[in-house]
Symmetry: C2
Subunit: 73 residues, 2 copies
């Protein structure tokens, strides 16, 4: 089983938190000030998300930035 | 007092951890597989660091990725 990439682990964490809150990708994108397609790409592990967007996503999910990294090494 | 930016907070965290370990920027860059100038820019809060480099820096500093975000909201 290949080791999950940071992008994949991060994407799964965002999806899990989003779904926990009952948000659609569109809801999350709007709250974060990001494009819906971008959020979809993040969740699919396709995006090498940069710091400022990471902080936006954390804020939109009402978690501390560090909490998005629980599943990463 | 203007609110510190995520880039600035992240950079200070990297610098503090690096200095705690007695590494030069060159040492850290080499351990992380990054360029020394890049590490300098990160520490000065000039770089919007992306996920994969964040994970490299955490590994090079022997901390969990989430630990680099203790000082961020």
């Amino acid at each position: 089983m290949p080791k999950a990439s940071p992008k994949s682990l991060f994407g799964k964490a965002v999806r899990a938190l989003r779904e926990e809150r009952g948000y659609s990708q569109e809801d999350l994108a709007e709250r974060a000030g990001l494009h819906r397609n971008y959020v979809g790409g993040v969740e699919r592990g396709e995006r090498n998300v940069a710091l400022e967007n990471i902080v936006k996503l954390a804020g939109a999910l009402s978690v501390r930035t560090r909490d998005l990294f629980d599943s990463l090494p």
